[in-house]
Amino acid sequence: MYNGLSLDQAPPISAVMRFFLTVPVFGILLSLTVFLNPQSVLTPAHPLSLAVIHMMVLGVITMAMLGALFQMQSVLGGRPIPAASGNALIIHAFLTIGILSLSGAFAFGGAAMFIVAAVFLGSSILYTANLILPLLFGGVTHDTLRGMRLALISLSVTAIFGIVMASSYANSSFSTMHDAIRTSHYSLGLIGWIGTLIIAVAFQVIEMFYVTTPYSPWCKRNAFRMIAASLFLKVVWLFFALPFVWIFDLVIGALLVGFVVTTAKRLQLRKRRVSDVSIWFWGAGIILLLISLMAYGAFEVSSYEPLVSISLIAFALFALAIILGMMGKIVPFLVWFHLSSAGIMDAPIMSNIIPHTRAKTLFSLFLLTSFSLLGGVFVLELFVVGAIAAAGMFALLFFNLINALKVYRFSLTHGLRFEQI
């Protein structure tokens, strides 16, 4: 039975790796900013705090997730992204310029930089959505694709709100709707884009990579509907200043707790208990998500400000944990897959492309970063330690990625071709 899929659908390795290689660069840049200005970064709504937040969610998290989307769409969507190399080049360039402009605009001020950021970030994100979203409709459909749709739609709306806010910052003129726009912007960005895409990926990879029992079909079918409905209603409530908006946070929080519990259960009860650093990252990630949710819930009750910082830092670290864990799986796979496709039949086995010791060191640095940054909310010196650990972590990630590419290039040139066997 021929399944009707195109057999030349994987994007070139460069299309994905250009996004992945940029992740540690922004990571080091934001670590340096935190190291030099820990107090400012910890002050809510401080320009440097906003610069660091956007370097993290755009430069690290979104950069990695868009790279992964280029790969995922071709495998899961069944319809390849057209002209993947050229489109990746354009999107990556615009995104990078946009993130640098936005961070610079927050850090150094200047109306023009906000406009440049809005143009470049808005166009890169909306172009991405316009490119990939149509491919997610009309062909094969499964729960992960539904999650990818919701994530991309949320990212687009987040970007539109972001453009409006950048224009407000550029003109130093804020409408009466500013608070509603800002809350909608970060709710859609954090939950609709980041959270949803991670859940969609989990539905696919947890059972595939780790041979676990599948998530319940009911959960998979309804999770994205409930997130979409809650986010939509939350935005409506915010714009019309209706009471009890926290109800939607409660629904989303309950869904995320459900995700944490079901994922933890599957990882705990997996059939083969092979030591794999990516599982450690998933474990750390879901614990950090739980910390984030608990801190947010506690803040809603107590209004104790540091809890907001804890919640935001833990959420960012949750996303980073999943990204680092998945990069450790995706990058060796990409190297092996593209070498094997090119007829290199002595391609190195995947577990040798990023050695276990280096993967474990990366995880240790991630743990040190997490403890230090979360503790740093209460003890400033720890925040500085966290910045140093994060810089080391991102430097090692960069080293791992560069080495994987070196292995790829060397094998492509010197490897034994299939026809030589």
Binding site: M1, Y2, L7, M208
Partner: protein
């Protein structure tokens, strides 16, 4: 016929095993891989290296994949 039952193995071991088995094939030999999912990336590797494949779903979590390098051998599934 080389039989590979990879249903209980973590990703990416099944893919590596299938490609290793494929490159050792000679003449009209066939690899019969039993897997819990359809290994779509594997097909691209096989076709790009002059091979052919047949993918048959028995259940949503039970797939039979047949790989060969021979252009003469007829790929068919007789286990369902």
């Amino acid at each position: 016929m080389i039989l590979l039952d990879t249903r209980e193995l973590d990703h990416p071991v099944p893919l590596e095993m299938a490609v290793n088995a494929f490159k050792k094939l000679s003449g009209d030999e066939i690899v019969h891989m039993i897997h819990r999912r359809e290994p779509i990336p594997l097909f691209e590797i096989i076709v790009k290296n002059g091979g052919r494949y047949l993918s048959v779903m028995e259940r949503e979590d039970l797939w039979h994949i047949y790989l060969t390098r021979s252009s003469a051998v007829k790929l068919e599934h007789d286990h369902v």
